[in-house]
C-alpha cells in the first residue's frame, strides 16, 4: 500500500494569514479570538469569535478576484489553496491533470451570505442576487475546480466539525486505491449569521473567550478559516520537501444524540482506536494530540474520558481552538496543518486559557511551548451528529 506524504500546506485563520504567521502565533501563545468586529450581526461587539480581521472586499483585492458571485468561504479556501499549491511546487500541468483530486469540506458554504440567502430563498425580488449558484456546500470546491480546471475527482464533504478531517481521509484513500495520484485536501468555513445563531440557540457559545478542558469552561467560540494539504505518493516525492507522512486515519459514529457525544465518548474512542489500527501503531507511540477541545461542557469531558479509556495515560495534548475558535468545517484541516508543523519542527504548543482540570477526569492540556521529540502525532475532530475522525501523522 502506498505511503502518503504531505508535500504542501496552506492555512488562514484568526491567528494568521499564512502557515508561517499561524505558527508564529502558536509558538508565542498569541490568541486570535476577540469580540466580533467586522461582521454585521446583532452579536457584533458582544460575542468572542476567531474572526479573520480582513474584510471580504480586502480578500478579493488581495487575491485579485472579481467573480461577482464569490463568497467569503470560497475566498478563504482560495487563499489557503494557493498557498498549499505554491508550497508543494505542483506544476500547472499536474494541477489540471486527471489524476489530481480535489477534496474540499465546508459546513456553511455560501450561506455566510445569510441576508442575501433570505432574500433569494423567499423570492423577494424577480431577478435574484448574483449568489444564486454560490449558496450550497459544493460551491466552494466547484469554484476551485473551475478556476484551476481540475480534471480529477472533485468532492465536498460535510459531516459538521469532522468535515475536513474526513476530506483528508477520503483523499488519502483515493490515492491508495489508484483513483488519484495526488490529492489536494482540506476545508473552509466563514463566520455566518446562520451558524452563530444556530450554535447560540443550542446554548453552547461562550460569552467569554473559550477555555478548553478547564473546569469552568462555558462553551465554544466560533471561528473561521481554511486550510489545504497536498498529499502525494512516496514514489512521486523524489527529492522534494516533505512535511510529514499521513500514517493513519479512523472514523466512527457516536450514535448517541443529534447534538451531544455519549458520556463515555464512544465515537471519539473508536475513531482514535481505528486510526491507531490503520497506522499499525500502539497507544504508547503517540507523542502528542491536537484535541478537538471546543470548550463545551459536553465535548471536553467526554473527549477526556475517551482519551483515558484508550491511553490510560494520555500523551501531551493541546486544543488550538483556544487560539482560533472553532472553525467548524475547516477545523480538521487547520488542525492537521498544525499537527504537521509540530512534527516538522518537533514542538508542542500550549493550550490557552486553561486554569484548572475538570474534576471528574483530572486531565491537563499542555501549558507552555516546548520543543520535544514528536514521532507520531494525532489530530482529532469530533462533530455534531456524532461524526468522529482521528488522523495520525508521523515524522519522516
Amino acid at each position: 500500500m502506498s505511503r502518503i506524504f504531505v508535500t504542501g500546506i496552506g492555512a488562514i485563520s484568526a491567528i494568521g494569514l499564512s502557515v508561517a504567521a499561524n505558527r508564529a502565533s502558536l509558538v508565542e501563545g498569541r490568541c486570535g479570538i476577540a469580540m466580533l468586529g467586522l461582521f454585521p450581526s446583532a452579536y457584533s461587539g458582544r460575542l468572542p469569535c476567531g474572526e479573520i480581521r480582513f474584510s471580504t472586499e480586502m480578500l478579493k483585492e488581495k487575491l485579485k478576484v472579481n467573480d461577482p458571485g464569490i463568497t467569503r468561504t470560497s475566498l478563504l479556501a482560495l487563499h489557503a489553496f494557493d498557498e498549499a499549491i505554491l508550497d508543494s511546487d505542483l506544476s500547472d500541468d499536474q494541477l489540471c491533470s486527471s489524476d489530481t483530486a480535489l477534496i474540499g469540506a465546508t459546513t456553511v458554504g455560501g450561506m455566510c451570505l445569510t441576508d442575501e440567502l433570505y432574500q433569494d430563498a423567499n423570492r423577494k425580488d424577480t431577478t435574484g442576487s448574483v449568489f444564486l449558484s454560490s449558496y450550497d456546500c459544493g460551491s466552494v470546491a466547484l469554484y476551485l475546480q473551475r478556476r484551476y480546471k481540475i480534471q480529477g475527482i472533485v468532492n465536498t464533504i460535510n459531516t459538521a466539525c469532522s468535515s475536513s478531517a474526513n476530506a483528508i481521509m477520503y483523499g488519502a484513500r483515493l490515492i491508495r486505491h489508484g483513483l488519484a495520484r495526488r490529492a489536494i485536501v482540506g476545508g473552509a468555513d466563514s463566520l455566518a449569521k446562520f451558524t452563530i445563531n444556530g450554535f447560540n440557540a443550542l446554548h453552547i457559545l461562550s460569552p467569554e473567550i473559550c477555555a478548553p478542558f478547564d473546569k469552568d469552561r462555558k462553551g465554544l467560540n466560533l471561528g473561521e478559516g481554511a486550510a489545504f494539504l497536498v498529499l502525494e505518493k512516496e514514489e512521486d516525492v523524489h527529492n522534494r520537501k516533505v512535511y510529514a507522512e499521513l500514517t493513519g486515519y479512523g472514523n466512527a459514529n457516536d450514535a448517541f444524540h443529534a447534538s451531544s457525544i455519549s458520556e463515555q465518548g464512544d465515537g471519539p474512542y473508536l475513531a482514535m482506536q481505528r486510526a491507531l489500527l490503520s497506522a499499525q501503531l500502539h497507544v504508547d507511540d503517540i507523542s502528542c494530540i491536537n484535541a478537538h477541545g471546543t470548550g463545551t461542557e459536553n465535548n471536553d469531558e467526554t473527549e477526556c474520558r475517551a482519551m483515558l479509556r484508550l491511553f490510560t495515560k494520555p500523551p501531551v495534548f493541546v486544543s488550538t481552538k483556544s487560539y482560533t475558535g472553532h472553525t467548524l468545517g475547516a477545523s480538521g484541516a487547520i488542525e492537521a496543518v498544525y499537527t504537521v508543523l509540530q512534527l516538522s519542527h518537533q514542538e508542542i504548543y500550549p493550550s490557552l486559557h486553561f486554569k484548572e482540570a475538570i474534576p471528574s477526569v483530572s486531565l491537563e492540556p499542555a501549558r507552555s511551548y516546548k520543543t520535544m521529540q514528536v514521532n507520531h502525532a494525532m489530530s482529532n475532530s469530533f462533530g455534531f451528529g456524532g461524526n468522529c475522525t482521528s488522523l495520525i501523522f508521523s515524522k519522516t
Binding site: S133, C137, I153, N158, A160, H177, K193, N253, A255, G385
Partner: protein
C-alpha cells in the same frame, strides 16, 4: 461492487408495492414524493425530522430490519434538510437574531440523514455525507466501492436523498433551472425550451463485494467536471470501450435528459457514440431534476435487471427485443458535473 437490496421513495410508486407503469403527473413543474408511512422511525424522532431526513431515513430503515448492521453508512445529498434550513433562516430574520429554537438548525445540517440512520441503527461504524452537488451520490458510490475493496467481508448502506423545498426551488428558479412555462412531465422531452422541472427522492442500497444472490453489479463509475461536450463525448467513448466486450454488449442506455434544451447537446453526443440499435431510455420525467437524481436512475436500473420489466414511458428508442442485462447510465447536473455508471446483472 454488488448491490444486494435497493429501496426508493420518489414521486412514482417505487416503494413497497412497486408499480412504475403508471406515471404520476407533475403539478406546477414539481414532482413531489409519495411519502409512505414510516413504521421504523420512532414518533419521538420522526416529529423532528424535516422531509429530506424523514425520506432518507425512511428509505434506509427497511434495509436495516432484522438486526442488519452495515459496516458503514455512506450518504450523498447536495442540500440536506433545506426546508429546516429556511425555517431557521426565517426565524433569524423574524426574531432579529433573538431567542431562536435550535431544532431546525440541527435538522438542517446535511449530515443529519446519515447521523439519524446511525442513531436508529445504533451504528458506530464509518459514517459519511458527501455534498458535492450533482456528484454527491457518485462520490458516495466511489467511497462505498473503496470500502468494499478495503473490507471484502463488509456490507455497506449507500444512498442519496434531496428534497424540493421552497428555498431551493426559488433559488434554482431564479437561476433559470426550472421552466418558466408550466408543463407536464409527460411531455418533458418535447418542450423545446431551457430548464427542467423540480423533483425529489431517495434511493438506498445495501452493497458488498459478494456476487451470490446479488441484484446487480455496479461495475464501474466515472465522473468529470466540464462544460465541453466534446470532452464529455470522448470520456464517454473511453468508458464505453473500457466496459464492453464482444460477449457482453451494453443493451440499455439510460440517459439523464431532462427537457432542458441547453443540455441536450451532451446527451446527443453520448447517444451518438453508441451503436444505433441500442435501446435508449430516460428517467427524469419520473423523478424530476435534482442533484442526486442519478440515485433514482441507479434504482431503476436495478429494478429493470431484477424484474425483467420496464415501463413503456421510459423508452426513447427501442429497436429490438432483448432482456436488459448490461445498463449504461449517463447523467449530468447543470451541464457541469457528469457521471457514467455501468450496472449489470450479476
Amino acid at each position: 461492487m454488488y448491490i444486494h437490496r435497493a429501496t426508493c421513495i420518489s414521486p412514482q410508486h417505487t416503494f413497497g408495492e412497486v408499480d412504475i407503469d403508471p406515471l404520476n403527473i407533475s403539478v406546477n413543474n414539481q414532482l413531489h414524493i409519495i411519502e409512505p408511512p414510516y413504521p421504523d422511525i420512532p414518533p419521538g424522532l420522526l416529529r423532528r425530522m424535516g422531509k429530506a431526513v424523514r425520506v432518507g431515513v425512511g428509505a434506509a430503515l427497511p434495509l436495516l430490519r432484522h438486526g442488519a448492521a452495515p459496516d458503514g453508512i455512506i450518504i450523498g445529498t447536495a442540500n440536506g434538510g433545506m426546508e429546516d434550513c429556511i425555517k431557521f433562516l426565517n426565524q433569524i430574520i423574524k426574531y432579529e437574531e433573538g431567542m431562536l429554537t435550535p431544532g431546525n438548525f440541527v435538522q438542517s445540517t446535511p449530515n443529519a440523514i446519515a447521523s439519524q440512520i446511525g442513531l436508529l441503527n445504533a451504528n458506530k461504524h464509518y459514517n459519511i455525507t458527501h455534498v458535492h452537488r450533482g456528484l454527491a451520490f457518485e462520490n458516495a458510490v466511489l467511497d462505498a466501492d473503496m470500502l468494499v475493496r478495503e473490507n471484502p467481508s463488509g456490507t455497506y448502506l449507500l444512498g442519496a436523498v434531496d428534497e424540493i423545498s421552497t428555498y431551493n426551488y426559488n433559488i434554482d428558479y431564479l437561476d433559470g433551472w426550472y421552466k418558466k412555462e408550466i408543463i407536464s412531465n409527460k411531455n418533458l422531452y418535447e418542450t423545446n425550451s431551457p430548464a427542467s422541472i423540480a423533483g425529489e427522492g431517495s434511493a438506498m442500497f445495501l452493497v458488498n463485494g459478494k456476487n451470490e444472490n446479488a441484484l446487480a453489479r455496479l461495475a464501474n463509475i466515472h465522473i468529470i467536471h466540464t462544460d465541453d461536450e466534446i470532452l464529455v463525448k470522448n470520456k464517454f467513448s473511453d468508458f464505453v470501450k473500457k466496459n464492453s466486450s464482444v460477449n457482453e454488449k451494453i443493451d440499455l442506455f439510460i440517459s439523464g435528459e431532462n427537457g432542458d434544451n441547453r443540455l441536450l447537446k451532451y446527451y446527443t453526443a453520448c447517444e451518438n457514440v453508441l451503436p444505433a440499435d441500442i435501446t435508449v431510455a430516460r428517467f427524469k420525467h419520473m423523478s424530476g431534476e435534482f442533484p442526486t437524481a442519478s440515485a433514482i436512475a441507479t434504482w431503476l436500473a436495478c429494478h429493470i435487471i431484477e424484474s425483467g420489466h420496464f415501463p413503456q414511458h421510459i423508452i426513447k428508442r427501442k429497436l429490438k427485443e432483448t432482456a436488459f442485462r448490461k445498463i449504461l447510465l449517463y447523467n449530468n447536473f447543470k451541464g457541469e458535473q457528469h457521471s457514467f455508471m455501468m450496472i449489470s446483472k450479476s
